[in-house]
Amino acid sequence: MGQEKVAVFRKAHFNAAHRLHVDSWDEQHNNEVFGKCNNPHFHGHNYELIVKVTGPVDPVTGFVVDLKLLNDVIQAEIIQRFDHKNLNLDTQEFKNLIPTAENIAIVIYQILRQKLDLALELQIRLYETERNFVEFPVA
């Protein structure tokens, strides 16, 4: 025991408004590419986040990572930042980055990566709707 890798998961959720829009394109091109998601008055989603952490089981604690501590980091770094926000208007991360599910997952990964032991692998799965979800990084 001790060297076996195990994946552990923590779920969280946040609600946010957003809009998919490229400033350098005209309205027609934005509408062709993004359709209803380009609505200038925004729309929104219930985002469901699954954070996957993979690593060896600590022989003393029996943990890969303390899921309570992982949850505290997710709440402090991700949920506080994005919950009930307008991703385009209210967050620094998407001032100049289009807030697609793909980009949101990458941003969440980059934020959490800095807070976790580098010996642990990290993967983000983000549901924008029940039917649309993304993963980063690709396994």
Partner: protein, 136 residues
Amino acid sequence: MVYLTRLEHFNAAHKLYNPNWTKAHNEAVFGLCANENWHGHNFELFVTVKGNPDPDTGFLMDVKVLSQIVNDRVIEALDHKNLNIEVPFLQGKMCTTENLAMAIWDQIVPHLPDKVHLHCIKLYETPRIYVEYFGE
């Protein structure tokens, strides 16, 4: 009597904000939901009608027709929209899930076939929060 339900969904932005109150009062009552720049949800809508099956078709009503009514009268108006700004039948109303469910009821009732009655609008704002309205 049988009950028939059709499930539809839409995504929208809104905020809970009473324009007659100060910003501070809105934030005290509605908390994060009062964010002036909006937030949003994936809404799940369950529309339940009731009546007796037609003896020839065995249908209470053609569920494709029910879906078409809900899409034409409700989803088209709400999906990927800002509920506070862009929805004619919500103008002047607080965009709570309660008020949204009651307004959806009013949009559907006039278009149902004879002898088919709307029984319930069940509307999920999140997977953990929903309201039911029975027209009472």
